[in-house]
Structures are given as C-alpha cells and as structure tokens.
C-alpha cells in the first residue's frame, strides 16, 4: 500500500451554504499502479488529489502515508512531504518561464534527496535534444513533457497528474500520456491521473469513478491499453 485515505470529507462554506466537495471517501493507492480518477468537473476529483498531494486538508478523515497521518502534519511537514515524495504534473504545465527545460528539471533535482540527473529525466520523456530551450520556445506538448520530467526526476513515490492532457490536442496528449506510462513502468512510481476524458481510463490499472464527492465505482482493467492505442 502506498497511500490510504479513510472517511475523507471536505466541506466548503460559502455564507449560509455548505457545499460538500467530498463526503466520506475511502481510497487506496497501491505501490506502482497507475490509477485514473475519472469524473465530470465539480465531481470532487481535484479536491481529492489536492488532499492526497498534501496541498489541502480534509474537513475530516485521515490520509496515511508511510505510517504517518498527513492530515495531522503542519505546513512545514507537508512541504517536506511534497518535496520528498510527490511529483506534480499540472494542466497548464506551470514551467518557470525564465529557466530552460534542463534548468526547470534541475529546479527540483537540486532540492531532492535521490534525484536522477536532469538529462536522464529529459531523455525519459524524449526531450534530450530540447534541453536548452526556454518554455516559450517549446510546444504545449513539449512543455508538458518537461513538466513530467521535472516531476519524475526526484524519483517520487507518487506522481499526481491533474488533467495533464487538458490543454492539449489528442495527438500531443497521447505523446504526454506515453511519457507518463513509460515513467510509471520504468520507475515504478505510483501514478494518479485526473481526467474527465473517459478514453484515458483505458490505460490505467484501476479506474476510480468520482461523482458528487463520492467514489461511485472502482474498476480494474483486465488489460491495460498502451497510450498509442487510445484516441479521442
């Protein structure tokens, strides 16, 4: 078991109104698997990812990682958790515009404990030849692959991807998904991909369907598809 959440609820209060983004969610992540969290927008999947990634705290419930309850950690400890164990890939890449591809990766390897080299990480996503380019000189797909290289370079226990193909066309999106599948396969990092695109679910080991702040269904894929076989 890589990570285990029990009874997670998240309430947002806006004036008189209380909105439950998550209600009583149990969720497990197993070592090395690739999980797709599938659900429409507003279903609570991002809230779940934020809590699992140590960006947000639940209103109630617990998240256990390596015998530690993340919900009890203070900001400093959560920062360390993200720094040492979690890799993030964002919908809009969030690269540092003033740093080249290699430097963006080095940004993370400089502060990580057992990182791979930046060039190694870029080679994993097939961008070794673009290492010295600035974000503004890269296509969207390339930028996202740099972001993946940046996320995996620290050899994270868990890789969190929030709509990684959300801003890309399908052809580029598939290239990005291939990079994710490859890193999952070769590095063994537990990978969580959030998406509202049902097609992507076919590349997962497990698919968790989220709706109305609850886990609606957990499905195991008997056969995983390769990203190259997907299309939308």
């Amino acid at each position: 078991m890589s990570l285990s959440a029990r009874g997670l609820s998240k309430l947002y209060r806006s004036g008189e109104l209380e909105v439950a983004a998550l209600s009583d969610v149990d969720f497990d992540l197993f070592q090395g698997e690739l999980v797709v969290l599938l659900g429409p927008s507003g279903s609570g999947k991002s809230t779940l990812l934020n809590i699992l990634g140590g960006l947000d705290r639940p209103t109630s419930g617990s998240v256990t990682f390596q015998d530690q309850d993340l919900t009890l950690l203070d900001d400093k400890a959560l920062t360390l958790y993200r720094r040492d164990h979690v890799g993030f890939v964002f919908q809009f890449y969030n690269l540092v515009a003033s740093l080249t591809a290699r430097e963006n990766v080095e940004l993370v390897t400089e502060i990580a404990t057992h990182p791979m080299s930046a060039d190694e990480a870029l080679a994993l996503v097939g961008l070794e030849s673009r290492a010295d380019h600035f974000p503004a000189e890269l296509s969207g797909g390339e930028q996202q692959r740099v972001a993946i290289a940046r996320a995996i370079a620290k050899r994270p226990n868990i890789l969190m991807c929030d709509e990684p193909t959300g801003a890309l066309d399908s052809k580029t999106g598939i290239l990005v998904l291939e990079a994710l599948a490859k890193s999952n396969r070769e590095l063994g990092a537990t990978t969580v991909v959030i998406t509202h695109n049902a097609v992507i679910a076919d590349m997962a080991d497990r698919v968790v369907l989220i709706g109305d702040g609850r886990v609606q269904e957990v499905r195991k894929n008997a056969t995983k598809k390769q990203p190259g076989e997907l299309s939308w």
């Binding site: 991002s46 934020n50 990634g53 960006l55 947000d56 900001d75 400093k76 920062t79 360390l80 958790y81 993200r82 720094r83 040492d84 979690v86 993030f88 964002f90 919908q91 809009f92 969030n94 540092v96 515009a97 003033s98 740093l99 430097e103 963006n104 080095e106 940004l107 993370v108 400089e110 502060i111 600035f134 974000p135 503004a136 940046r150 929030d162 801003a167």
Partner: protein
C-alpha cells in the same frame, strides 16, 4: 442620506482602488512629498519675495550704501547732484560694546543716528513697541527687536553701553525693526547671535556729541532714480567721498542682511526646482509599472467591456480615472503637507529674519502649478500602457498574453555555478532591464537624498574644524577703534587670563588685477603665528611669506590672479598709498575672502611700523570671566569676538534645526524607498504568483520561495547602495557649488557616519517593504496555481 449613484464602471474604480490601496497610497505619498516640497519652497519663496519687496518699499530701503570716515553735512548737496541719485540720507553709524548683566562676555552692537521729530528719507524704522525718540533727551535709544527679545528688554528698561570709550546708561524707549537688519549678524560671524549682537538708534545730536561728529556724518544712504545705472551712481558717490575717507559705495546685493535673505531665497528656489521633479519622476515611474501590470491583468475584463460595446475611450477613461484618483489624493495630501511645512518654515524664518509681517501666502498659482504638473506627469507615465490595453480588440483581449520570452543574458557565463532560484532572479532582472534599472535608481535616489542633505552637518563640522581649529585658533579677537602703538600689545598681554597674544593689522584697500576689483582688508599676520594661521591647499598651516601678498583661494578666483601675478592695492585709509604686491601664495579659507601679508612688511609699506589694529589672544579657561571684566573696562577696544560663544551659539542654532531637518529628510527618503521597493515587490509577486505557487507545490519552502522574490529586491537594493552613495556625493557637490559665496564655502565633506546612516535608513525601509510583501507570499494559493493559466 444621499445615495451616491455611481455607474458600474465607477464602482469598479472604487473597488479596484480598495484592492490596491497599499500600492496606491505608497505612490500617492511620493506625489504628496513632491507637491508638498514645491508648495512649501515656492510658496515660501513668493512670500519672502513679496514681503521683502513690500517692506523695502514701505520703509524706503536704500539702493546704495556708502560708508566713509567723516564728511560735513554740506556735502549732501554735492551727493544730491550725482546723476542717477533720487534721495540722499546721511547718518552716523558706529560700533558699540554692551555690558549686559546676563552675560559674562561683552556683547557687540551697532549704533546709528535717527532723526528726532521727523522721519528719515531712507531706511525708516518700524516701531513694534514703545515710542519714538523724544527731542532733548540724549540718553534715549530705540533697540532692535531680536536683541530686546533675547534679553527680555522692553521700553522703560535701561542698558549699559560703552560708546566711544565712555560708559553710558541708555534708556530704551522703543523696540524697532529695520529693513537693514532683517538678518542681523555681527560682521565676521557665521550665524546671527541675538544675545550678543544688538542694533541701536539714537538721536542724531546725541550721537554727534558722543563721537565728535557735530555737523558731520560717516554713512550715506542713496536711493537711485528708476533706470539709473547703479555702477555710475556708485562711481559718482565714491568720487564725492574720496577725500572724506570713503571706503567704497556698495549696492543692496552686497548689503549683509539683503545678501543673506537673497541667499536663502536662492536655496528655496533651488529646492523648488530640484527636489519636486525628482519625486514626480519617481511617481511617474511607479504609476507606470503599477498601472502597466494592472491593465495586463485586466485584459480579459477589457475584452469583456469592449464586447459589451464600451468604446476604446470609455475603457481608457476608466483606467485613467484610477490614475487620477491616486494622483489627486497625492496632490491633496501634498497641498496639506505643503501648507503645514510652509507655516512651520515661516515660524523658523521669523526667528532668523525679522519682518514686521511675514505670512506664508497661499498663492493659487503655486497650487495650480504643483497640481497641474503632477497630473500631467501621472498621465504621461501611464497613458501608453492604458491606451495600448484599451485599443486591444475584444477577441485579442480575451486571449491570454503569450508566455514571457526569456533568453540567456549576457552574464550567462557567470551563472553556471548558480542554483536555479538565483538564475531565476538574474534572468527576471535582465528580462525587464528598464524596470530593474529604474528600481535601482529609485532606491539610489532615496540614499542620495539623505546623503545630499545630511552632509551639511559634516560640512559644517569640517568648516568649524578648518576655520577654528586649524586657522583661527585664537579664543578671542580684540579690535581697536584705531591703530595703536606697540605698547597696546603689552597692555593686552597683561590682561587677566591672557596666555598668548599676537598682534594683527587690518588695512582697508581696493585690490585690482586686470580690471577685476575687490574691496578687502589686508590682514597683517606675524611670522610663525600660533593663533591665526594661514593654510595651504591641504589645510596645513604655513607661515606667512616675509614679503608679497597671500590671497585666499576665493579672492584669487574673484580677481583672477594667481601666484606670480602682481596685484595693485589702493589703500583707502591713512596715507592711502598705492602698492604693487606680487602674489606669493594662495591659501585655503572657507570663511570670507581675505588677503594676508607679513605683519612687519605691511607696517613698513604703510610707514606705520609696529602699529596694530587688534590682538588675537589665547585664554586660560579658568580666567575667562576675569578677562571679560578686563575687556569691559578697557575703553579703547571697539569690538571683541569670542570663539567659544560664537561656536556655542552656532552649534545651538544648528542643533535646533538639525533634528527637524533630519526628520523630514528621513521621511522623504523613506517615502521614496518604500514607494519604489514595495511596489517593485508587489508587481514582481503579482507577475510571478503562479510560478511561485507552483514552486510551493513542488515542495519549495516559504523561505526558498521568498528568496526568489526578495532576493531580487535585495540584489537591486545592493546595487542601489553604491549608486546612491555616488549620486549623494554628486548632490552634495552641486549644493557646495550653489553655496560657494564670498562669505563662506561649504566643503565637500561626507563622513562614513552620514553614508552609513543614509544607507541604513534605506535598507530598513527596504526590509520593511520586503516584510510586507513576505506576508503576501504566505497567501499564495497553491490550489489555484494548478488550475489557472496565466
């Protein structure tokens, strides 16, 4: 209640301002500082100018002044005939010594004759209390207000004066003000000392009797006809007075009080011209960066407004309204501050400058110029950014701007060993070179403003040190009424408390060289002098050469004569010989513009060997009171100037003003530094909030993220410090140039303490601004960073 009906866009103006209030206030304060300085200095200048002009006009202040030895009253007719003369007034003007019960040391005074029962044609007095002189009573005097106040004397009180060597008890009947003594300063003093220098007016017959001047006068006042040539009038008057011991007519510009008031007005004018533009330029820069960033962030909204059908002009107007509100708040604060400063200033001026009336006038033109200039500068600073945003087509505006293009900077070679955050700092700085440079310049100006004003204290200390510790080391200077025989020196040496005594001569002469003329006393100093010494260019004491003339540097500049040149000295006293004197040395002097010669040599050329005009003395500290007593009882001494009291009163005056001055300078520097740094931090934060939040998500600590943001500010500030010190030196240098006058020079002296203090103030202001933005970093929304695109 009256409901305020604002259009939706105007409501947005109000809310946007509320959201950016801290930045807006920081900018408004910079504008306010500039406006306040302008309103104060320009308003004060106008007030002084108009007050003085009215005062001169109403009380018939003379255009030309001509002192002389003695002339019969009949000469008035000839003076009246000089072409260009409209009015002549003659009088008797002499020095007196005063024995004040509340002072150990003797005080000095000037005593002037005043008509009884009639108004003089020129230099009429303003009676502030008491009455005019009555006929027949020879002991009545009118007393200058400043001296009266310093000793709490009122009409009806008596005062003891030594007039022409005779002790007299005078009865004060009136307290007066004179346009001639707006700034009353003892000849040779650095600062007015109201306790030790007073001016008296006495009935003419009484003064004639006291100084054996029956039917005669020794001072002429001249008013000229409109359009008359001043030089011609002076020459004409000099010609008439030549044989009566005239020492040269001079115009208002060289009248001491007028000169000082004009000097102050020049300083105000400089202040009004130099300082406010600096503040306004900084405000324009700040408005530019803040508004540019803001309209960038408003792109989508601008697209929306235009999609709704708002015109480009309506959108432009909307954003300019925000600029206008910030500027108007600054102007309003500046008006208030300027009036407040002006009133305070008028209070200070009332202490130094004695006017019958001095009001700080609120002239609409001053306000109009300050307000108008601020609005224009603010518009100029923001117009382009606002207009460019407003011109975007709705479709363009709704699309986010392309990502910022960075490239390797020229310094990239040096960056290879840097970690990525440091690299981000440098690339961000280099990406906006203009903004970075102006931020550096802004902070540097804050440092410079402090150095440029605080250095005055250092310069004053240097001036005091050079003048009183290196050159004029005597504790007191005694001046005789007339040149004395050598035994007068022995008499002084025998006085209580005198440890050392050196005689000096002072001979009035007109020096000329290749058409340049200058009236100056030739000061004869003894060989190997220990008390009053001349200094070489490195401020080191040197002995006076045994023959030839030593010119002070200022006099050398005024005459255009250097070492090796021969200066013609037309002596205007005694036998009035004409001397050809080779310049053998140029000495360093910060006070006055003297000329020195060897004591014996000067005595020989005057054919009065051994005679002395005064004595420099060094005193035993424990015997000072006895010495003063002895001086008070020695009739032949016309004047005594005492270093200790001069310095003390000077320092007291300085100390009073220095705190106020420091407070305002620090305020101004802080306003600039905070305005520049805080806005730089907020804009940087706004531009990079998503990037910094992403780094937080990636596991960067608050400290590491703050380093990127505050590191850039720190680096810019570090660059600003040496630049600011350089600019400060430059500013100080400009001040020394503008204050380089015949009476004194301000040395360019900036101590480490001043540099350190100036840097410290700005560093603290920078740290404060950094801390304020540090709190904003804590509010970065990590979750939002994952979702939004720039």
């Amino acid at each position: 209640m009256v409901a305020l009906h604002l259009s939706p866009l105007d409501k947005k103006v109000v809310r946007d301002l509320r959201a950016m209030w801290a930045q807006a206030l920081a900018i408004a304060m910079v504008i306010a500082a500039g406006v306040a300085m302008f309103v104060m200095s320009e308003g004060m200048l106008k007030s002084l100018f108009e007050t003085r002009a009215a005062y001169y006009e109403r009380y018939g202040f003379a255009d030309v002044f001509a002192p002389l030895k003695r002339a019969p009253n009949a000469l008035v007719a000839r003076l009246q005939d000089v072409p260009g003369v409209s009015t002549i007034e003659t009088r008797i003007k002499e020095r007196v010594r005063l024995d004040m019960p509340d002072l150990d040391e003797p005080a000095q005074g000037e005593i002037l004759s005043y008509p009884v029962g009639a108004e003089p044609r020129l230099n009429r007095l303003y009676l502030s209390s008491g009455r005019w002189l009555a006929p027949g009573n020879n002991d009545e005097v009118l007393l200058s207000e400043a001296f009266a106040e310093a000793h709490t004397l009122t009409p009806g009180d008596n005062i003891t004066a030594i007039i022409n060597g005779r002790k007299r008890l005078l009865s004060i009947v009136g307290v007066v003000l004179s346009a001639e003594y707006i700034y009353a300063i003892q000849p040779g003093a650095m600062m007015p000392d109201n306790k030790r220098f007073g001016v008296f007016w006495m009935a003419r017959p009484a003064l004639e009797a006291a100084f054996n001047m029956k039917g005669a006068f020794n001072d002429v006042l001249v008013a000229i006809t409109p359009g008359a040539n001043l030089e011609d009038v002076k020459d004409g008057v000099d010609l008439v007075l030549e044989t009566y011991g005239g020492v040269g007519a001079y115009e208002r510009a060289h009248q001491v009080s007028h000169w000082y008031v004009s000097g102050e007005m020049n300083q105000l004018r400089n202040m009004a011209q130099i300082v406010p533009p600096i503040f306004l330029a900084i405000a324009a820069f700040l408005l530019n960066v803040v508004i540019t960033r803001w309209v960038e962030m408003e792109r989508e909204k601008i697209g929306l407004f235009k999609a709704f059908g708002y015109s480009t002009w309506a959108v432009t107007g909307h954003y300019l309204k925000v600029v206008m509100v910030i500027t108007l708040v600054g102007i309003a604060l500046g008006f208030g501050g300027g009036v407040w400063l002006g009133r305070g200033m008028a209070g200070i001026y009332q202490e130094f400058f004695r006017f019958p009336f001095l009001y700080f006038q609120f002239s609409t033109s001053v306000f109009a110029i300050a307000g108008g200039a601020s609005l224009i500068v603010a518009l100029a600073g923001t117009w382009r950014a606002v207009r460019r945003a407003a011109l975007l087509s709705p479709a363009q505006a709704m699309v986010p701007p392309p990502p910022t293009r960075y490239q390797r900077s020229l310094f990239e070679g040096g960056l290879t060993h840097l970690e990525q955050p440091a690299r981000m700092i440098v690339r961000h700085m280099v990406r906006w070179p203009m903004r970075s440079a102006l931020t550096v310049l802004g902070s540097a100006v804050a440092v410079a403003v402090l150095i440029g004003s605080m250095f005055f204290m250092d310069a004053m200390e240097k001036l005091i040190d050079v003048t009183f510790n290196q050159a004029e080391r005597q504790d007191a200077t005694l001046s005789f009424m007339e040149a004395q025989e050598p035994r007068a020196l022995e008499n002084v040496k025998a006085m209580a408390g005198v440890m050392q005594a050196e005689p000096f001569r002072a001979v009035a002469a007109e020096l000329s060289f290749r058409g340049a003329n200058r009236r100056e006393s030739l000061i004869g100093l003894v060989q190997d002098a220990r008390l009053n010494r001349i200094l070489n260019q490195n401020y080191e004491p040197v002995s006076v050469p045994k023959s030839g003339l030593v010119l002070s540097q200022k006099l050398s500049e005024l005459l255009g004569a250097g070492v090796g040149d021969v200066v013609i000295a037309q002596v205007t006293q005694g036998r009035r010989p004409t001397l050809e004197l080779p310049v053998v040395q140029v000495s360093k002097t910060l006070m006055g513009s003297p000329a020195f010669m060897d004591y014996a040599y000067l005595g020989n050329v005057m054919q009065e060997p051994g005679r002395l005009d005064g004595v420099y003395v060094k005193l035993d500290d424990n015997q000072q009171k006895n010495f003063y007593k002895a001086v008070k009882n020695t009739p032949g001494i016309a004047a005594v100037s005492i270093k200790r009291t001069t310095l003390k009163s000077f320092r007291e005056t300085m100390a009073e003003n220095v705190l106020v001055m420091t407070f305002f300078n620090v305020m101004f520097a802080v306003v600039i530094a905070v305005g520049v740094v805080y806005n730089a931090a907020r804009i940087s934060l706004s531009e990079r909030s998503r990037e910094l939040a992403s780094l937080r998500v990636l596991g960067f600590t608050m400290g590491e993220v703050s380093f990127i943001l505050l590191g850039e500010l720190a680096l810019l500030s570090v660059l600003a410090i040496p630049l600011g010190c350089g600019l400060g030196y430059g500013l100080a240098w400009v001040w020394t140039l503008s204050l380089d006058t015949d009476l004194y020079r301000i040395p360019l002296e900036v101590t480490k303490q001043t540099l350190g203090f100036s840097v410290l103030v700005v560093v603290l202001a920078t740290l404060g601004s950094g801390l304020a933005s540090f709190r904003q970093i804590g509010k970065l929304d990590m979750v939002q960073a994952l979702k939004t695109r720039e």
